[in-house]
């Protein structure tokens, strides 16, 4: 569709709002039930009925028209389950005439309720009149679009969108770029909408019972805001596609609502959304969470048992775990809840490099978070799901596992975190020290992970003839990312001390690229220091150092190119191979350069895509790993096995098919 001549790009916005699964006044909802009889019960027995009437209980209101506009619901007996609106009520006879005849006329065996539907809720929590029974049902989706000729009726969309600005996720590979955090830049969307009168059709389940015309009351968005004040973190989606395309086939970008403003004096409403990784922000998620507990009494320097009050046992690890009181770390073997008091026994005082000391009653007792030789993938998943509340379904677990199995062996991490630290900070540290990056793929609704490693994917080829739009290329060198000396401090002595205290580490390692610093190359030193609570071995530190210097010894090239929408299958995280007049060798011949797509944006939805690129030229011509004993011979290997494995060449350095062999460096 994107390659068709005369394509008509369209853009839709979908917002999911909460919607109660119950019906107003119908069990379990108890709201709106008129209790108007001496029995003081909302359910009464009818005296009689006919095709168009029902005679209410004798003790109901004697006032004419008392129930006009309300709803009579047959709850039992003959005609059970039917509802009709009251067209007329005669007080003297208690006879209700319904607006539409009964399918099964009620009789004296029928029980009924009168429901005040004209004053019903709108099935959102803010409007609920029986919050104890509010039940989240399937969210109701509001669909909006930009005004469009030939808008399909089955979109059920309101053509009130005046603008959509999508700022894409931006990867910060290995956390080196100073323009964003190690988690990169959050993807955001800003939607501008023109307010208008709202009919409430499809939004108010009881619109036909109202005594007023919704078009005469408020506007669409003033009413929506009043009904949905708890809009934050609700889904908002952008659909970019073409007229004639099914909605399900359009490219969908997923966000959660962050802000709502308006309508302003011009009647414009603005809704902004962010990608799911906003939940990882330090002000939203901490690990470990702050513990409320405090000492029930003074704690002597040698005591091995004590009590904690003012907290729930779920805030701590039980039966065994680690605590911090003041500057002391304490491990324990048992914690039980006895009548609300947490009894701790089997305590070992002054562990993990700290010293035992006395503590006072009411001193705070903080749960510590300990990881011991845990795979990197498991730690990241735990931080995101347990502490940041991200649904596991939004993590690309299969992709993470595949990446970890191949490229993160040997990176089992250990640390003790003794106070609440932002999850975003902890994840950034891991990304920087293990050299990987996470990003939110707004198309697939997954948090993806990739290690900074030699590419195994086949890059997408882009050239200036068939792909790159005119006047759209712009590349610069980014010397801020270059590193020539790397200091890594690792194995903390005392986890309660400051992370960047050099004296608090047992080991420090320096790795440098003397050639890059030398007079024939960059002629300057670029130092980076890492204070690692995670890395535990020389092997890990050596690997991190080697990979970081290999990747960042030269100034990265960053830039942008714009392509037509026909090429929009390429997205953030992908590898591209660009042939452009901008890149030549020393003799002026064009060379194809390899780039990571660190950001992708539909600058004109459905028409143009802008990629932000960072070069990714592997140092090695080939890369390989030791293979299993049952690995195939060279000629029998698949393409994937050839990309990851290695075989010995002959004495001429050639493989059996004449290709150059692997060279060990």
């Amino acid at each position: 569709m994107s390659e068709e001549f005369g394509r008509v790009p369209v853009q839709l916005v979908e917002i999911d709002q909460d919607h109660c699964a119950n019906t107003y006044g119908v069990s379990p909802c108890t709201a709106g039930r008129i209790v108007d009889s001496t029995a003081a019960s909302p359910v009464e027995t009818a005296q009689a009925g006919s095709a168009s009437t029902i005679t209410l209980h004798a003790s109901t209101s004697a006032v004419d028209d008392a129930y006009n506009g309300m709803t009579v619901r047959i709850t039992g007996g003959t005609g059970s389950g039917q509802e009709r609106k009251v067209a007329d009520y005669v007080g003297a006879t208690r006879v209700v005439t319904v607006s539409v005849n009964w399918t099964t006329p009620p009789d004296s065996t029928s029980t009924y309720m009168v429901l005040d539907r004209p004053n019903a809720c709108v099935n959102t929590f803010a409007a609920c009149q029986d919050t104890d029974n509010f039940t989240q049902g399937t969210p109701k989706t509001i669909r909006l679009c930009k005004p469009l000729q030939d808008m399909p009726a089955d979109w059920l969309a309101i053509p009130s969108v005046t603008g959509v600005t999508q700022n894409p996720t931006r990867i910060n590979a290995g956390g080196q770029s100073g323009s964003s955090s190690a988690l990169g830049q959050r993807g955001t969307v800003s939607v501008s909408i023109l307010d208008h009168p709202g009919s409430d059709l499809r939004l108010d389940p009881y619109v036909e019972d109202r005594a007023y015309d919704p078009l005469d009351r408020g506007t669409f968005w003033t009413k929506w805001r009043a009904r949905n004040p708890y809009y934050q973190n609700r889904p908002i989606r952008i659909l970019n596609g073409y007229l004639g395309e099914a909605l399900g086939d359009m490219q969908t970008y997923n966000y959660v609502i962050d802000k709502f403003s308006g309508p302003d004096s011009a009647g414009v409403v603005k809704i902004t959304g962010m990608d799911l990784l906003r939940l990882v922000d330090d002000n939203k998620a901490q690990a470990p969470a702050l513990s409320r507990g405090e000492l029930q009494g003074d704690l002597t320097i040698s005591a091995t048992a004590f009590n904690i009050v003012e907290a729930d046992i779920s805030e701590y690890d039980a039966p065994a775990g680690t605590l911090r009181i003041g500057d002391e770390v304490i491990t324990y073997t048992s914690m039980v809840d006895v009548a609300g008091v947490l009894q701790v026994t089997g305590a070992t005082r002054g562990t993990d490099g700290t010293a035992a000391e006395a503590h006072d009653e009411e001193d705070q007792v903080q749960r510590c978070l300990r990881y011991t030789d845990e795979p990197v993938i498991d730690i990241l998943e735990d931080l995101l799901t347990t502490f940041a509340g991200i649904d596991l379904a939004n993590i690309d677990s299969v992709g993470w596992a595949a990446e970890g199995d191949i490229w993160l062996t040997g990176y089992e991490l250990s640390t003790l975190i003794t106070e609440p630290i932002g999850v975003g900070t902890l994840v950034k540290e891991i990304c920087e020290q293990v050299l990987l990056f996470l990003w939110w793929d707004e198309r697939e609704q997954l948090i993806k992970l990739q290690v900074l490693r030699p590419p195994t994917e086949t890059p997408v080829s882009l050239n200036e003839t068939a792909h790159v739009l005119q006047n759209s290329q712009n590349f610069v060198d980014d010397p801020t990312q270059r590193v020539s000396q790397l200091y890594i401090f690792y194995v903390q002595r005392d986890p309660t001390k400051e992370l960047d205290d050099e004296n608090n580490y047992r080991f420090a390692r320096l790795r440098l690229d003397a050639t890059a610093q030398g007079v024939n190359q960059y002629g300057e030193v670029k130092v980076k220091k890492i204070f690692s609570r995670w890395l535990q071995s020389f092997g890990q530190v050596n690997d991190t150092g080697a990979r970081m210097l290999a990747r960042y010894r030269d100034n990265p090239i960053v830039g942008t190119v714009t392509v037509d929408a026909k090429d929009r299958a390429t997205w953030t995280g992908d590898l591209v191979r660009l042939t452009s007049a901008k890149f030549v060798d020393v003799n002026g011949s064009q060379v194809a350069r390899q780039f990571h797509v660190i950001s992708a944006k539909e600058t004109i939805p459905g028409e143009q895509i802008q990629y932000e690129l960072q070069n990714f030229d592997p140092v090695a011509t080939f890369q390989c790993r030791y293979m299993a004993d049952d690995a195939p011979d060279y000629l029998d290997a698949t393409d994937e096995e050839l990309a990851l494995g290695g075989w010995y060449s002959d004495e001429d350095g050639l493989m059996s098919d004449g290709e150059p062999g692997w060279r060990y460096q």
């Binding site: 994107s2 390659e3 001549f5 005369g6 394509r7 008509v8 790009p9 005004p147 469009l148 000729q149 030939d150 808008m151 399909p152 009726a153 089955d154 059920l156 969309a157 309101i158 053509p159 009919s199 059709l201 499809r202 619109v207 036909e208 078009l215 200036e464 003839t465 068939a466 792909h467 790159v468 739009l469 005119q470 006047n471 759209s472 290329q473 037509d564 929408a565 026909k566 452009s580 004109i604 459905g606 028409e607 143009q608």
Partner: protein
């Protein structure tokens, strides 16, 4: 888009020559009680009473009715319908007792997205749109008294159905190759002017429309004779309508720019 005239001689004698523009602004359905024989979920009957063009009534089957109870008998001589007709056969009907129904218009299967039915006036409390043979998706329905302009539009007309406003945007590669082309269409726009209208007519007959047009769209057929039966649209003004005294003989001129509801 199409205009359907029933018993044209009577229509002409009651409302004027078919060379005169017709404006369907008078809308008795706006305050009426509405019901339909059927309606799909998300396509309620009330949606067709609204002026907007993004909410629709859609019956569940090909034989259906959309009924308006005007609360008292009213004179009606036109029906306007906007939507995706899908080849359905439409007809205006009326009843004095909500039981026995009579045909106000001939049956017609309109083309395009706007249909205007002109018929001899009837006085009745209940009016309905009868749908048959196919299931339409209807964005708007109205009944009322048609406004006939006092004088014809003579020259310089930009037929609304041909008055497209289109933006085309191509994409070209760095080396000059054609990569794609997008069409951005903003709808229909046209302008209409009248001269030598009697001031008394403008003040008493036309001005109620000018007031209504500030808030509501309307159906417009500039010359509903056989040659131009397709040139009708559901439109709205872009600005206030300001008649101008144009001569010493109590004559006025006026005009307005409209934008048209684009196809469903």
């Amino acid at each position: 888009m199409s205009v359907h005239v029933t018993t044209s001689a009577t229509v002409v004698s009651e409302t004027g020559a078919l060379t005169l523009a017709r404006i369907g602004y008078h809308n008795l359905a706006r305050a009426a009680s509405i019901s339909a024989s059927s309606a799909e979920a998300d396509y309620p009957a009330l949606a067709a009473r609204n002026d907007n063009t993004f909410e629709f009534w859609k019956p569940t089957g090909a034989a259906a009715t959309w009924r308006a109870d005007l609360a008292s008998a009213q004179i009606v001589n036109y029906m306007g319908v906007y939507g995706d007709f899908n080849g359905a056969a439409l007809r205006a009907q009326y009843s004095t007792d909500d039981a026995a129904w009579s045909n106000a218009s001939d049956v017609a299967s309109p083309t395009g997205d706007s249909a205007l039915f002109l018929f001899p006036q009837q006085t009745a409390r209940y009016w309905r749109l009868l749908v048959a043979t196919a299931v339409p998706t209807i964005g708007h329905i109205r009944f009322g008294r048609i406004l006939t302009m006092e004088r014809p539009i003579m020259q310089g007309v930009n037929p609304i159905t041909l008055a497209r406003s289109t933006v085309i945007r191509p994409t070209i590669s760095e080396r000059g190759q054609w990569l794609g082309r997008s069409i951005i269409r903003s709808g229909l726009e046209a302008s209409y002017q009248w001269k030598n209208l009697s001031a008394a007519w403008v003040r008493t007959t036309f001005d109620p429309f000018a007031l209504d047009a500030r808030e509501h769209p309307f159906f417009f057929a500039w010359r509903p004779i056989s040659t131009y039966l397709d040139e009708i649209a559901y439109v709205w003004t872009k600005d206030d309508i300001r008649p101008v005294q144009s001569g010493p003989n109590s004559l006025m001129s006026l005009g307005f720019d409209v934008m048209g509801a684009s196809g469903v």
